[in-house]
C-alpha cells in the first residue's frame, strides 16, 4: 500500500481541517480533487509529516508519518504550487543541494541533477540562475526538484498553473512519463481535464472527509449506451429511419443528436439509418459522463457538507 490513512484528524487550534479521513492508495497515478478549503493542503502536510495528526494515523510507503516523518520526506517528492526557487543558484547547483538534503551522497546528487534536468527538458539552461527563468521553465525546475532524489511517490500541486496550452501539454506528458517509470503520482489540481488526461484513479475530498474514490473509467461508464451523432443532411428523415430500426433519438447539443442504441451492433444500425436517409455521419462518439459530472455528483451525494473554513 503506497499511502494509507485511518481516521486521520488534523486540527489547527480549534479549526478542524481534516475530520476522520480514511483512504487507501495502492499506487499508479491518482488525482486529488476537492474544492478550496476541503483540506487538501492539510492532507499533503500530514502526508509529508509536517503536521502531527490530532487523531488517527497516516502511513506512506509503509512508514508512519508521525513517527518517521523524515524518512518519509526522503522518499517522497513534492512539487509545490508556489513559485519556489533557491535564490542565487543555477539549476544544477540548486538540484545538487536539494538532492544532498534529501540524503543523497554528493557525487550521486550531481549526476542525478543533470539527469533530472535532461528529463524535464531544461538541459540547455541548466547553468543559468533559476531566478532568471520564465514561468514555464520554473515549473519544470520544480518538477525536477521533486524528482532529483528518485522518490517512489511524488505529489504534484497544480503543475500546469499559468502555463500556456503548449506548456500544459508538455507538462502533462511529463507526468504520464513519470507514471510510466513506476513512480506513483498524486496530482492535486482544480483542472479536471488534466486529471482525465493523466490519471487512472481519483480521490475527491471535501470538508476534510473523503467523498469518492475510484477508477476514472469505472466512474465514467454510464448505465446505458448513448451516442452523440452529427450528420451532414436532414435530421428528420434520419429520425424516421432510426425509429424504424428501433433506435431512440433525442435532441442533442453541439456535438449532435443523442441516440440510444442496443449494446451489440448498435453503431451499425446508426450508420444504416443514416445511409437509408441519404445522410452522412460526420461524427459519432459514445457519450460518457465527464469527470466533471462525476466530481460534482460526489460533492452533493453524501448530503450537503458543512461550510468549510475560510471558503
Amino acid at each position: 500500500m503506497i499511502l494509507r490513512s485511518e481516521g486521520l484528524r488534523v486540527t489547527y487550534g480549534s479549526t478542524v481541517a481534516i475530520d476522520g479521513l480514511s483512504l487507501a492508495f495502492a499506487g499508479g497515478r491518482c488525482g486529488l480533487l476537492g474544492p478550496n478549503g476541503a483540506g487538501k493542503s492539510s492532507f499533503l502536510r500530514a502526508v509529508l509529516g509536517l503536521v502531527r495528526p490530532a487523531a488517527g494515523k497516516i502511513e506512506v510507503l509503509g512508514l508512519d508519518t508521525a513517527r518517521r516523518g523524515r524518512e518519509v520526506r526522503a522518499r517522497v517528492g513534492y512539487m509545490p504550487e508556489r513559485d519556489a526557487v533557491l535564490p542565487a543558484a543555477n539549476a544544477v547547483a540548486s538540484l545538487v543541494h536539494l538532492g544532498t538534503l534529501s540524503g543523497m551522497p554528493d557525487r550521486l546528487a550531481r549526476r542525478r541533477a543533470h539527469e533530472t534536468l535532461d528529463f524535464v527538458g531544461l538541459a540547455e539552461e541548466r547553468y543559468r540562475e533559476v531566478t532568471g527563468y520564465s514561468q514555464g521553465m520554473r515549473q519544470r525546475f520544480r518538477l525536477a526538484a521533486a524528482l532529483v532524489h528518485d522518490p517512489d511517490l511524488v505529489f504534484l500541486d497544480e503543475p500546469t498553473n499559468g502555463l500556456d496550452p503548449a506548456g500544459r501539454r508538455d507538462m502533462l506528458d511529463l507526468v504520464r512519463r513519470i507514471g510510466g517509470l513506476g513512480i506513483h503520482v498524486l496530482l492535486s489540481t482544480h483542472l479536471l481535464p488534466d486529471v482525465e488526461a493523466t490519471c487512472e484513479e481519483v480521490l475527491v475530498v471535501q470538508a476534510g472527509t473523503l467523498r469518492l474514490q475510484g477508477k476514472i473509467e469505472d466512474l465514467r461508464r454510464a448505465a446505458r449506451r448513448t451516442f452523440a451523432v452529427r450528420l451532414a443532411g436532414d435530421a428528420a428523415p434520419f429520425r424516421r429511419e432510426a425509429a424504424a430500426l428501433g433506435l431512440e433519438v433525442a435532441e442533442g447539443s453541439r456535438d449532435g443528436l443523442r441516440v440510444s442504441a442496443p449494446d451489440t451492433d448498435g453503431t451499425a444500425l446508426i450508420f444504416r439509418a443514416a445511409e437509408r436517409s441519404g445522410s452522412i455521419v460526420t461524427r459519432l462518439a459514445e457519450v460518457r459522463r465527464t469527470l466533471e459530472e462525476v466530481f460534482f455528483e460526489s460533492l452533493e451525494a453524501s448530503g450537503p457538507a458543512p461550510s468549510p473554513p475560510g471558503n
Binding site: 480533487l33 476537492g34 474544492p35 478550496n36 478549503g37 476541503a38 520564465s134 514561468q135 514555464g136 498553473n161 499559468g162 502555463l163 500556456d164 496550452p165 503548449a166 506548456g167 500544459r168 501539454r169 482544480h190 483542472l191 479536471l192 481535464p193 451532414a232 453503431t267 451499425a268 450508420f271 444504416r272 443514416a274 445511409e275 437509408r276 445522410s279 452522412i280 455521419v281 460526420t282 461524427r283 459519432l284 462518439a285 459514445e286 466533471e292 466530481f295 460534482f296 460533492l299 475560510g310 471558503n311
Partner: protein, 307 residues
C-alpha cells in the same frame, strides 16, 4: 448602436526593440469572445491598450465608435478584471469594491448598493465583510470580478478570470460570464485554458507573436484552412480491415493504426471519406464504434495555428 463595441485598427505597440503588438485590426460585438495565444503573444498588451492604460505606438483603438485616446469617460462603460493580484489587503471586500465604485463617480449610497449587488452576483455576499488578506485566491478573483461589473459596463475585459478557482467556483463563474454575454454585453475572455473558452463561446481571437492569426468560430477557421488535410479518427474493433479498405481510396493521403482499436485517416476530402465510411459501416463491411475529426477541437486547432 451601429458602431462596434470595440474596434481596433492597425494597432501596434513596441517597447524599445521588442514588439508586443503588430498591426492588429479587429472588431468586437456583443456576446462572449475568447482571446487566445501563447505566452508573449500580446494578449495583455492588447487589453491594456484597449483600457487606455497603455498608449499605442501606431494605430488606434475605438470604443463605442469613439477613440480611446484622451477620452476617460468612455471607461465608465468598460469593466476590466486584470490578471495581477493587487489589492489593498487590509480593506474588506466590500470596502474595496465600494472605493472603486466611488472612483467611478457614484454617490455614497449608490456605490454601496451597487457594490453589494456586484458581490452578491459573484457569490461573495456572505464574505463581503471579510478582509481581503484573509480570502482564498479564488475568492480574490471574484472580488476583482465584482469591481469589474459593478458599474454595468457594456464591455467587459477578463484576463485569466478563472485562475486559482476550484471546479465549483469555476462553474459558477463560467455561468456568470455566459449570462453577462447573454445580457448583450461584449465580453472578452483571455485564457490559456482552452477547454474553458470552448465551453463559453464559439468565437475567438488568436494572437501570435503580436499579430492577429485567426478570428471567428472554430468551423469558419477550420473551413478556411482548406489546404491542410483533415485527420479523421475511427475507433474500430478490426483496425486492419478498416485501414486496408481506407488506404486504397483516392483522396486518402495516409492511414495510421495507433493502438489496439484506433485508425487515423489523413485526407483532403473528409466528406468523401465519411460518405464511404457511412455506407461501409451500414453494410457491415467495416465495424465502426466511433468517428470524429481529430482537429475539430480548440486544442488541436490552436496547435495547428500556432506552429
Amino acid at each position: 448602436m451601429s458602431a462596434p463595441v470595440l474596434e481596433v485598427s492597425g494597432l501596434s505597440r513596441w517597447y524599445g526593440e521588442v514588439i508586443a503588438l503588430s498591426d492588429v485590426s479587429l472588431r468586437l460585438g456583443p456576446g462572449v469572445t475568447g482571446l487566445l495565444g501563447p505566452n508573449g503573444a500580446g494578449k495583455s498588451t492588447l487589453l491594456r491598450t484597449v483600457t487606455g492604460l497603455l498608449p499605442p505606438s501606431l494605430g488606434e483603438a475605438r470604443l463605442f465608435g469613439e477613440p480611446v485616446r484622451d477620452n476617460p469617460r468612455l471607461f465608465r462603460r468598460v469593466g476590466f478584471c486584470p490578471e495581477a493580484d493587487a489589492f489593498w489587503e487590509d480593506l474588506t471586500a466590500l470596502e474595496f469594491v465600494r472605493t472603486l465604485a466611488r472612483l467611478h463617480g457614484f454617490g455614497a449610497r449608490e456605490a454601496r448598493e451597487r457594490s453589494l449587488r456586484a458581490l452578491d452576483r459573484v457569490g461573495l455576499a456572505d464574505r463581503a465583510r471579510k478582509r481581503i488578506a484573509g480570502l482564498s485566491h479564488g475568492q480574490r478573483q471574484r472580488v476583482k470580478f465584482a469591481q469589474a461589473i459593478l458599474h454595468d459596463p457594456d464591455l467587459l475585459l477578463l484576463d485569466e478570470p478563472f485562475n486559482g478557482m476550484d471546479p465549483v467556483m469555476r462553474r459558477q463563474t463560467m455561468d456568470l460570464v455566459r449570462s453577462l454575454g447573454e445580457e448583450g454585453r461584449a465580453v472578452l475572455v483571455s485564457s490559456h485554458i482552452l477547454y474553458e473558452v470552448e465551453a463559453l463561446t464559439d468565437r475567438f481571437l488568436l494572437l501570435l507573436r503580436g499579430r492577429l492569426r485567426a478570428e471567428g468560430g472554430i468551423e469558419d477557421i477550420r473551413g478556411v484552412l482548406d489546404d491542410i488535410p483533415r485527420r479523421l479518427v475511427v475507433h474500430t474493433p478490426d483496425p486492419r480491415r478498416l485501414a486496408g479498405a481506407a488506404a486504397g481510396k483516392e483522396t486518402v493521403l495516409g492511414v495510421r493504426r495507433d493502438g489496439a482499436s484506433r485508425v487515423t485517416i489523413e485526407t483532403t476530402r473528409a466528406d468523401e471519406v465519411l460518405r464511404w465510411l457511412t455506407s461501409a459501416a451500414a453494410s457491415g463491411e467495416v465495424r465502426v464504434e466511433e468517428v470524429f475529426a481529430a482537429d475539430e477541437d480548440l486544442e488541436s486547432l490552436f496547435e495547428m495555428l500556432v506552429r
